[in-house]
């Protein structure tokens, strides 16, 4: 079945501009919430581990402090090192604006789709990996090598889950997928969706660099992946990289929430509906990141060479999801 594209070219200027306003609002919301979500995750984790922990707004304070410091650039690094923080942030902002978190009437929906979203996230990963190599240090290369190995296995999983989600709707268009989920609930709770959700959840952990794939809290050379690439960043560059990384976590958790628990996403551009959707979106994010924190308390980091086994598992889950959804469709 072919779902109609939700954004009709109706030419109503006011509606389009309202749509753009919602897209911009989404980007701002994700950018604002992302560090808070990180702080929330850390706080939950600290509480569960019996520590006091920092405040929820602590990541924002860190970012502000880093932004004021002087950025250093390694003697041998070039334009790739300097450009990576901006590229990473830009791709994160684009994805944050394009995914229909608040309303399915997103004007970007006809310009991007799930495959583009996966591609843009990967572009950010690649920018950071090249920056890691550009520093010319052992750690930078190590982080880049590990990150690309993981990304090479995560991307297929992401694409397969995308495909499984798209098969049931007949489109890779994100608004169509979410809209179909809000109207036809039988489709959301299908075995294919459960498999796709499991695959996407593992891919999210890997892509966002969380336990058990990567430990965001350590700088131990045996284990670090993301941190190894960003070791040479300082000042405003480091602030941008950390902010963008937080946004990526929010984006991916938000994607999970919006695609698999689509209730609450507005199907129009009415301000009240959008505001309600924003509140629900933040609530879903809190639940998911709380779950993430709980899971992280009870999980140890995997050995680097055990990670591919986990990712291969999620790849197989994704493949099963696609086949199931194709058979059931």
């Amino acid at each position: 079945m072919v779902a109609p594209l939700p954004v009709a070219a109706d030419g109503q200027g006011s509606r389009m501009s309202a749509g753009w306003a919602v897209a911009a609002a989404q980007a701002v919301l994700v950018a604002a919430v992302a560090p808070l979500l990180l702080g929330f995750t850390r706080a939950v984790r600290a509480r569960l581990e019996g520590r006091g922990g920092g405040r929820i707004a602590q990541p924002w304070r860190d970012l502000r402090k880093q932004f004021r410091k002087e950025p250093l650039i390694p003697a041998d690094a070039g334009v790739f090192f300097a450009a990576a923080p901006a590229v990473l942030t830009a791709t994160s902002l684009m994805v944050a604006a394009a995914v229909p978190y608040l309303s399915t009437q997103n004007p970007l929906a006809s310009s991007t789709d799930l495959i583009v979203v996966v591609g843009l996230l990967l572009l950010g990963t690649v920018a950071l990996a090249l920056a890691g190599l550009d520093t010319g240090t052992a750690f930078g290369g190590m982080g880049a090598s590990r990150e690309m190995t993981i990304a090479a296995l995560v991307e297929p999983t992401l694409l397969l889950s995308v495909f499984a989600l798209s098969t049931r709707v007949g489109s890779t268009n994100l608004s169509a997928i979410v809209a179909a989920g809000t109207t036809d609930q039988a489709r959301v709770f299908s075995p294919a969706s459960a498999l796709a959700a499991a695959a996407l959840a593992i891919a999210t952990l890997a892509e966002a660099g969380r336990l058990p794939v990567d430990n965001p809290a350590t700088h131990l050379e045996l284990t670090m992946v993301h941190e190894a690439m960003t070791l040479e960043y300082s000042g405003r560059d480091l602030a941008l990289v950390e902010w963008a990384s937080a946004m990526r976590l929010t984006i991916l958790l938000g994607l999970l929430a919006t695609v698999f628990v689509p209730w609450g996403v507005a199907t129009n551009l009415h301000p009240v509906a959008v505001a309600l959707a924003a509140a629900l979106f933040v609530a879903k994010l809190c639940v998911l990141s709380g779950l993430l924190a709980v899971a992280e308390v009870f999980t140890a980091k995997l050995r680097l060479f055990r990670v591919p086994e986990l990712l291969a598992g999620s790849f197989v889950l994704g493949l099963l999801a696609v086949i199931t959804s194709a058979v059931l469709a």
Binding site: V2, L5, F67, R68, E70, P71, L72, A75, D76, G78, F80, A86, T89, A90, L93, M94, L108, S110, S111, T112, D113, V116, G119, L123, V126, L130, L133, D134, T135, G136, T137, A138, G141, A144, S145, R146, T149, A151, A152, L153, E155, P156, T157, L159, L160, F163, S166, T167, G170, T172, E221, L231, E232, R236, D237, F305, F315, L319, V322, A326
Partner: protein, 671 residues
């Protein structure tokens, strides 16, 4: 005179002129003259292709040009697409050649080596223009011979060139024999050798004949296209040929293998049973995965690019196979999307692979090495080359906003939008194909990050790399042209829509796959993206973020790299391309089967102390070793056994000839 005739006539006369000029011009001007002629041939070929895909075909028969069969040329939309592709590649490579071969006058700049370049391009242009079996075979063989001679240009300099040449000669001739047998069978079964006759009578062929023709032609064309397992010549030939020839071979010549498959399977035979397409798809999937895995662990930059060619051809074949299956199931709209994806990917691959092989040539010229482990630090010594290679890498890694992304997106859409009622085969095949495309894309990104990151960034790992200087302007201009074409295809892919529409209608598998100007929309399929907005958004937002950060934050200061406070850094501490690919190699250990040796020597006093540790690693091509190793052993043992027949006695040879003659006569009598 139609535009196609005029342009093709211009191309062939320019090629002749260029070849002649290559032979007589003094060394100082030779590269410039031949490069300009090659570019001219390319432009004329591209114009002919453009005219053909815009709807003005052309047909001519010259019975007196060659004895027996004559020459028959037919240019339609399908041929036009490939003419355009070859012409575009040749135009770029022509400009690049001027600077690359330089004024030395020997090696690739020798008289013969340069004179053959325009002839090679002309032979490639002749292949899609051929309108009969005999003309096609003639053009095919001309292309094979000229490319072989060009590939051997540096045979005095490097012994590896000779081995590569042997492999290429043997495999291209074996492929030619397969194509010859297939097409001869086809012509005999159809009762005529012109493509028009064959097309008309294809429906009356027996299933045995059409499947036999398909298999023979597939074997021949797949070996030319570098499809695994018929690929072993490709990484050798592409790596050892002079870089402008590598670019022509990888970006243009390999595509003619694809053209052959399209022409025979879709056009002349008019499709076939389902197992044809499943076989084609399986070959494509194997090529894509094996090619990209070998590319991921390659340390030779040109070998990496060559294996990536196998990978991309695999993706193209996957698209064609999907199109065949879908058209067989009556889903012509989606089949049209699949054909469009395959053909657009062929064009995109031609664009970025030209750029990347030219970039590899610039690196080779500046440093004298292709080994990624010895490179590094080129981004500050060769900034323009690095940026241009970066554009190619963006396309080759299929990342938005690159051009490779668009065609892979189309391919995924075709695989997604098949009608669910299309039968069990499609239900199983499509998800597997998606998994292959996805895994290929993932490993491809890692591969190209390795190529760019360890080859061009960070600090030089050898004096060869630290002494590199930027390439001359003509080389940069050629690469710049290729980069502009890549960017154009990435941002405005919809401009190819009318041409692709004509090609797919010409192949009778569907029509009107794409629509739209700024947005890329698929007709009859709910899918659209806006490559322009993605590109503008990504670049614009990145610039905006950088500008805001720059104006509000403090300025950057250069300082020694921190690296956890560990002492002064040397280049030996950097990750090399081998170490970069090591985790990936470990993950795919079972497929790649690396051979590792660790030798530990001990001093005489005690076996508990270690004096030296030696580590060696080889990554042999497994398919080659398993498949071609036994074959070559068998061939050489037969050759050894047959030596007894040739003792050097003239009488004996005369007796052989007499026996053979008598046998033929008897066979003729009793037939």
């Amino acid at each position: 005179m139609t535009p196609v005739a005029a342009a093709l006539g211009g191309a062939f006369s320019m090629a002749a002129g260029g070849a002649l000029a290559g032979l007589v011009t003094p060394a100082r001007w030779r590269s410039a003259v031949v490069g300009a002629a090659t570019a001219g041939v390319g432009i004329a070929g591209a114009i002919a292709g453009l005219a053909a895909v815009s709807g003005t075909g052309w047909q001519v028969r010259l019975p007196d040009l060659l004895p027996l069969a004559g020459v028959s040329l037919t240019v339609d939309a399908v041929g036009g697409w490939f003419l355009l592709l070859i012409g575009g590649v040749a135009a770029v490579v022509g400009v690049y050649t001027v600077g690359y071969t330089g004024q030395t006058g020997h090696g690739p700049a020798a008289r013969g080596a340069l004179a053959l370049v325009p002839l090679f391009v002309a032979a490639m242009l002749l292949v899609p223009a051929a309108g009969s079996v005999s003309t096609f075979l003639l053009a095919w063989e001309l292309m094979a011979v000229t490319s072989l001679l060009l590939m051997l240009a540096e045979h005095r300099h490097t012994p590896a060139v000779r081995t590569a040449g042997l492999w290429y000669a043997a495999m291209t001739q074996a492929g030619f024999v397969a194509v010859l047998l297939g097409l001869a069978w086809l012509a005999a079964a159809a009762g005529g050798e012109s493509f028009d006759t064959i097309r008309d009578r294809a429906a009356q062929l027996s299933p045995l004949a059409s499947s036999g023709v398909f298999l023979l032609c597939l074997a021949g064309f797949a070996s030319k296209a570098g499809v695994v397992p018929l690929h072993p010549w490709l990484p050798r030939a592409h790596a050892e040929a002079p870089s402008h020839v590598s670019a022509l071979m990888s970006a243009a010549m390999v595509k003619l293998g694809v053209y052959g498959i399209v022409r025979i399977a879709f056009d002349l035979l008019g499709g076939g049973p389902r197992w044809w397409w499943l076989l084609l798809g399986a070959l494509g999937a194997l090529s894509a995965l094996y090619g990209i895995l070998q590319a991921a662990v390659a340390t030779d930059l040109k070998r990496l690019l060559a294996f990536s060619t196998s990978e991309n051809v695999g993706l193209i074949l996957l698209g064609l196979a999907a199109a065949g299956l879908l058209a067989g199931a009556g889903q012509f709209t989606v089949a049209g999307v699949a054909v469009a994806a395959a053909l657009l990917h062929a064009a995109n691959h031609a664009g970025f692979k030209t750029l990347l092989f030219c970039g590899a040539g610039s690196v080779l010229r500046a440093t004298g090495t292709r080994d990624l482990d010895e490179l590094g630090g080129l981004s500050r010594r060769m900034p323009a080359t690095t940026v241009l290679v970066g554009v190619g890498v963006l396309g080759a890694a299929a990342l938005p906003p690159g051009n490779g992304f668009i065609s892979e997106w189309l391919l995924l859409q075709a695989l997604l939008h098949r009608d669910p009622a299309g039968g069990t085969t499609l239900i199983i095949a499509a998800p597997v194909a998606v998994a292959v495309v996805a895994l290929t894309a993932g490993v491809g990104v890692a591969t190209y990050v390795k190529a760019l990151g360890t080859g061009f960034l960070a600090r030089p790992r050898s004096t060869k790399a630290s002494d590199a200087v930027e390439s001359p302007p003509t080389m940069l201009a050629g690469m710049g042209l290729a980069a502009a074409v890549c960017a154009g295809l990435a941002v405005f892919p919809a401009v190819t829509a009318p041409a692709l529409d004509r090609v797919t209608s010409g192949l009778r598998v569907g029509s009107a796959p794409m629509q739209g100007g700024v947005d890329l929309q698929l007709a009859g399929v709910a899918a659209s993206i806006s490559p322009l907005w993605i590109a503008v958004g990504a670049v614009g937002l990145a610039v905006a973020v950088a500008a805001v950060a720059r104006t509000t934050g403090r300025t950057r200061r250069r300082a020694a790299a921190w690296d956890c406070g560990d002492g002064p850094l040397t280049a030996r501490m950097e990750y090399t391309s081998t170490s970069f690919a090591e985790p990936l190699q470990r993950v795919f250990d079972d497929v790649l089967a690396p051979e590792q040796d660790i030798d530990v020597t001990h001093p005489a006093e005690s076996a508990y102390l270690v004096r030296t540790v030696e580590y060696r690693r080889r990554l042999p091509d497994r398919v080659e070793a398993r498949l071609f190793g036994p074959l070559m052993t068998a061939v050489s043992s037969i050759g050894q056994a047959a030596r007894g027949l040739a003792t050097g006695s003239v009488h004996r040879y005369l007796a052989y000839m007499l026996t053979a003659l008598v046998a033929v006569l008897i066979a003729g009598v009793f037939r």
